[in-house]
């Protein structure tokens, strides 16, 4: 509760005041203070099988359950323990039975194909403790979109329970890697955040790296080595497949990233032995030079409000993370730990900067606050690299290469490092880039 007295809080006080006479309020009423004490307890949720068409309903509830199982904050209860696997969505569930399972929320729903062939899906979210329905929604879509509907329902539930934005209805671009280690075929691909619905965006005849999703549109920017010539930064429209070179620079451009509003791309340009940061406005095509040093400045990433840019630079002798104004100028080093820091990425929430840290023969993924404090290593191993944020700033994806003949895989984890889940991909995969919420 903030110190400001708002109308609602005043109403609350009034309520308390009116209740007071009814209750035998003793003068020395003792407060009971409950603090979590660092204990994290996921919210237990039971997702019943959706009714309606057995296949459609079942598919919906399976996707939702799977989503929640990777959400860390919500923990789906094993359906095997359900007394009533398919609850009637039109009636309140038997709360006592769910209470026994320690469920805090129950999801009931239905997926049914209408006469017009469209899929009608609905869900209800019940608070077991109070026995009340706290959310409910109905969607009508083309049956081909049933996966998206399930993700949208997942987001609605996640948001209702946690108060945070969802992230299930999102897609991820990544580099799909096939073939032997020496001659990997790297294709740009896109998938749902749960690893499903993979689609390839390039044919694999040219090497592509560091794809970045636009935060506001279905566009991807990446670096491609192309056929001959310098590697270039490209811009690709996912829906139309249209692609273009970003800017016309004399040297190699790499490490592109969108600005938070999606109107600019910031990237590195190599000139001689040094690399500097440039921003290009996608509409006017004007370019602005942001840094001017004889060192290698790369991996720029805007803060959510666009006012600052975090990037890595070896201007101090080794790779470290620096922050400068969004319009360029002097930079301030924020990483001071042992080892080398690279690929900083500013969280969409603005509260953290994720990075890759090298040292002692291993690569770690970690987060720190924008002022460089509060550094936390989330995972460490032979090779972890390339963190990317979920649009709600609560999760990260990165890729991990175990070494040897095996290739890289993509993993997802929450920003607190409480859970880590592999993202299933058809083959080896690297360089994930999380896109915005679709809905």
């Amino acid at each position: 509760m903030t110190s400001t007295i708002t109308r609602r809080s005043a109403a609350g006080l009034l309520l308390g005041a009116t209740l007071a006479p009814a209750l035998p309020l003793r003068a020395q009423e003792r407060y009971l203070d409950v603090r979590p004490g660092g204990q994290f307890r996921p919210i237990m949720i039971a997702v019943t099988n959706f009714g309606g068409d057995p296949d459609a309903g079942r598919a919906l509830s399976d996707i939702i359950t799977n989503n929640f199982s990777r959400s860390v904050f919500l923990q789906p209860i094993d359906p095997k323990s359900f007394v009533d696997r398919t609850a009637n969505p039109d009636q309140p569930p038997q709360m006592d039975a769910w209470r026994v399972l320690n469920a805090q929320f129950v999801v009931t729903g239905r997926g049914q194909r209408g006469g017009d062939g469209r899929l009608k899906s609905e869900f209800r979210l019940w608070d077991v403790a109070s026995g009340q329905q706290v959310a409910g929604q109905q969607y009508v879509t083309d049956p081909n979109n049933s996966r998206r509907v399930a993700h949208i329902i997942s987001d609605a539930i996640f948001t209702r329970i946690t108060g945070e934005k969802g992230f299930f209805d999102t897609r991820v671009v990544f580099i799909d890697e096939t073939g032997p280690k020496e001659r990997r075929r790297k294709r740009l691909a896109i998938m749902d955040q749960d690893g499903q619905s993979v689609r390839y965006l390039t044919r694999g005849d040219e090497l592509v790296v560091t794809p970045r999703f636009s935060p506001s549109s279905q566009e991807v920017t990446y670096m491609s080595f192309g056929q001959g010539g310098d590697p270039r930064v490209f811009l690709l429209n996912i829906e139309s497949g249209q692609r273009e070179v970003v800017g016309n620079f004399p040297g190699m451009t790499f490490a592109p990233r969108f600005s938070p509003d999606g109107q600019r791309i910031v990237m590195s340009l190599t000139q001689g032995t040094s690399s500097n940061l440039y921003a290009m406005d996608l509409r006017s095509r004007n370019t602005t030079r942001l840094s001017d040093s004889s060192a290698i400045d790369t991996s720029p990433s805007y803060s959510p409000d666009g006012s600052r840019i975090v990037f890595e630079s070896d201007r101090g002798g080794s790779q470290q993370i620096y922050v400068m104004s969004g319009s360029g100028g002097g930079a301030q080093r924020i990483s001071f730990g042992e080892g080398r820091y690279s690929t900083p990425v500013w969280s969409p929430k603005g509260d953290y900067i994720a990075f890759t840290k090298q040292g002692k023969g291993s690569f770690a993924i970690g987060v720190m606050k924008p002022d460089g404090s509060g550094e936390r290593i989330l995972t460490e191993g032979y090779h972890n690299e390339g963190p990317t944020w979920a649009p709600n700033g609560l999760y990260l994806m990165f890729f991990r290469d175990p070494g040897g003949q095996a290739g890289a895989r993509i993993y997802m984890m929450d920003v607190f490092g409480r859970g880590e889940f592999p993202v299933p991909t058809p083959s080896f995969a690297s360089d994930p880039a999380w896109g915005p919420l679709l809905s």
Binding site: M1, L19, L23, P36, G38, R41, G163
Partner: protein, 421 residues
């Protein structure tokens, strides 16, 4: 300093112990000390040696005997837990709720029994009687100590009036006499003065029955104080009157120095405030009023000392601080387990929820969120706290805390998300 001549332990030669003057004795002693033993009389040396040996033997023999232990005065100490302490201090829950008898510090005289019954009756009457109702407004006015000079009153009516008002204000007989006067007076204003007053006055003296006092007032339309003094017996409690009385008494004292002022001494209770009161041990008898005390010890047919039961939630058994702590701990642990806090809120918000428990620890009423957040982003935090309260239903509360139900039946639980990371 004259040891008996045969002092055995001294070991001093006999010549030294002789009746010789002090100087020669000292000399002999010195000689003896220097080891000049008169071997012609070996008995002394032998005796001395034997005594020394004996002394040494006893010293050695008793050296290692056990000393007598100091017998400390034993103070019985009993260790009791806080809980037991609370048990000791609390009232008996099973005690019957007795309509407390009037506290009686003295056995009443025959006459004094009268006042009590009327009180009881008055109590009963309170709800029903139509006549009292009319007068009800009066008592309210009566409370104010002002005495209405207007005496006109039908005595009988007055008599009936006072009893009713009396009981409610003070159950004890003491107050009665006073109140009647005050009460009676206001009514007087309404009613015309009556000739019966004198009679009533007499009656009054013996007992605090309201009637008499009323009578007095009527007599003297002017402030009753002066009236009372002459009449002596009907000193109203009113402090003013008492003060006046005492003042007067003092004046008289000073003037006549007569220790036998028959004047009614206001009882200390009523007149204590006056500071001029000097205590003279020799005049204690003077201090003893010969008048019937205005403020009487509460009397009854038998002595009863009834301790107050107290309101059930006021003087009930209290939990000791450590009991509170352990109860808080128990409840806190349960709420912690019930609280799924996922620590996603940056804002500082502490949900305060009023919870009312039944005896078995279950929720007696819907928990009430006292400070609903205005920010929708933290609504889920408030909801998580509410869920925790509902999930922890019933709260398990050990039976040891049952006797203290009144104290924990309503609480405000605060869910503070601090330190989540």
């Amino acid at each position: 300093m004259s040891p008996p001549p045969e002092e055995p332990l001294s070991g001093v030669p006999k010549d030294v112990q002789s009746e010789a003057p002090a100087e020669s004795r000292v000399a002999a002693l010195m000689a003896w000390a220097r080891g000049k033993i008169n071997w012609r009389e070996p008995g002394v040396a032998v005796s001395a040696g034997a005594h020394v040996a004996l002394l040494a033997a006893t010293l050695i023999a008793f050296a290692d005997t056990k000393k007598f232990e100091d017998a400390p005065e034993s103070i019985p100490v009993e260790m009791i837990s806080d809980q037991q302490f609370s048990q000791v201090m609390k009232g008996d829950k099973t005690a019957k709720q007795v309509q407390p008898k009037q506290n009686a510090e003295k056995i009443a005289d025959v006459t004094e029994t009268k006042p009590t019954p009327p009180v009881a009756e008055a109590k009963r009457d309170v709800p029903t009687p139509p006549p009292p109702l009319k007068r009800v407004p009066d008592p309210g006015e009566d409370d104010k100590p002002e005495l209405k000079p207007e005496p006109p009153m039908p005595p009988q009516r007055l008599a009936s009036l006072p009893p009713t008002p009396q009981p409610p204000p003070r159950p004890e007989p003491k107050p009665e006499p006073v109140k009647p006067v005050a009460k009676a007076e206001p009514p007087k204003a309404e009613a015309p003065p009556e000739p019966d007053d004198p009679k009533d006055a007499e009656v009054i003296k013996p007992q605090p029955v309201p009637r008499p006092k009323i009578a007095e007032a009527p007599k003297d339309p002017t402030p009753p104080k002066p009236v009372e003094k002459p009449k002596e017996p009907t000193p109203p409690k009113l402090d003013e009157v008492a003060k006046l009385l005492e003042k007067r008494k003092l004046e008289e004292k000073a003037a006549a120095a007569a220790k036998e002022t028959p004047k009614p001494v206001a009882k200390p209770k009523s007149g204590d405030e006056s500071t001029e009161h000097k205590f003279d041990v020799s005049a204690i008898s003077q201090l003893l009023s010969k008048e019937a005390p205005q403020v009487r010890a509460s009397t009854g047919r038998e002595l009863t000392h009834t301790a107050a039961l107290g309101a059930p939630n006021a003087s009930a058994a209290r939990m000791s601080p450590s009991m509170w702590d352990s109860l808080d701990g128990l409840m806190r642990e349960q709420y912690k387990k019930c609280w799924s806090y996922i620590g996603l809120n940056a804002q500082k918000y502490v949900a305060q929820i009023r919870v009312r428990y039944a005896q078995d620890g279950s929720l007696q009423a819907e928990p009430a969120l006292l400070n609903p957040p205005s920010d929708p982003n933290i609504r889920n935090l408030a909801e998580s706290a509410m869920r925790a309260v509902r999930r922890c239903n019933p709260m398990h509360i050990p039976s040891a805390y049952m006797p203290y139900y009144e104290q924990w039946k309503a609480r405000v639980v605060r869910f503070d998300p601090e330190d989540m990371l």
